[in-house]
């Protein structure tokens, strides 16, 4: 595995081959993360290209204080937010001000049984997962994906999104309850 620091330094001084190697190393990670946010393969592909172009243009500002992958996550996030706002005209919603989460903490407990644990991710289940997460405002979706799916620490997510640790925890908490609640209908019907 090639050393990122050397590749980044070389790319900073204009070595495109070195940057190409960074793209090769991180493209699957970026694509996968973009898809998990956008839930659309075509959009994920657009975000992937935009992300590396922005990364190359802004490479001089990468100080090396965070991991290169964390820096890429931030660029992906910004691109997804911009694309989303451009295409949907959806305002940035603060869930504290909406009633989207009403009732998520007051539902009856239903046992999911064995189903989802061994569930094969078939087409139907994928559609359910996509539909549920797409109902979640992007700001919450991003925190959930970074923290729970990609496995970044709460501090890393906060740093990357310029959010305080309590703000990350609060969004994560709400996102988890919301998604669990959405899937509850599918697994207990």
């Amino acid at each position: 595995m090639e050393d990122d620091t050397k590749l980044i330094e070389a790319a900073k001084s204009g070595d495109k081959k070195a940057f190409g190697r960074l793209v090769k190393k991180y493209e699957q990670l970026v694509y996968s993360f973009s898809f998990k946010i956008c839930r659309d393969k075509q959009k994920a592909d657009e975000v992937l290209q935009e992300t590396f172009i922005n990364a190359y243009r802004g490479l001089k500002s990468f100080s090396g204080n965070s991991k290169f992958s964390t820096w890429l996550y931030r660029i992906v996030t910004n691109n997804c937010l911009m694309m989303h706002r451009k295409k949907s005209h959806e305002p940035v919603v603060s869930l504290e001000e909406t009633d989207l989460f009403k009732g998520t903490e007051e539902l009856q407990v239903a046992h999911w049984g064995e189903t989802p644990h061994d569930a094969v991710l078939n087409k139907e289940l994928k559609e359910v997962l996509d539909a549920a997460i797409q109902k979640l405002p992007l700001e919450y979706r991003i925190v959930f994906v970074m923290r729970d799916v990609e496995g970044l620490s709460t501090e890393e997510v906060g740093k990357s999104l310029k959010l305080s640790v309590p703000a990350v925890k609060s969004r994560l908490h709400r996102a988890r309850l919301f998604l669990r609640n959405e899937l509850n209908e599918y697994f207990t019907k």
Binding site: K16, F19, G20, V23, K24, E27, Q28, Y31, S32, F35, K36, K41, A44, D45, L48, Q49, F52, I53, Y56, R57, E105, E106, L107, Q108, V109, A110, H111, W112, P116, H117, A119, L121, L125, K126, L129, I133, F144, V145, D148, V149, K169, H173, R176, L177, L179, R180, L183, N184, F187
Partner: protein
């Protein structure tokens, strides 16, 4: 059971769902989960929610390195070399 009755556990469950519950700080929650089937079911479903999203991944169809580098070439300033003026 209404979850609201177990709110403090719900909060703790949600906070610690991705942690190792065998740690000493999770002792109380562990004890509660072993005695309360509803909270245990809730914990289980929350954990499964995360696992399902973690397992749902997509693979790229092919590398995009060439396209991306070609895009970057468009950024380069044009280098036009003008012919030298002939001295008369």
């Amino acid at each position: 059971m209404k979850l609201v009755d177990h709110k403090k556990y719900l909060l703790e469950i949600c906070e610690k769902v991705d942690q190792d519950l065998t740690s000493p700080t999770c002792k109380k929650l562990r004890e509660h989960l072993s005695q309360c089937p509803d909270c245990a079911a809730y914990y289980d479903s929350l954990k499964k929610t995360i696992v399902l999203y973690r397992d749902y991944d997509v693979e790229m169809k092919g590398s995009r390195v060439k396209e991306i580098l070609a895009q970057l070439d468009l950024d380069e300033p044009l280098r036009i070399t003008l012919p030298k003026k002939r001295s008369r």
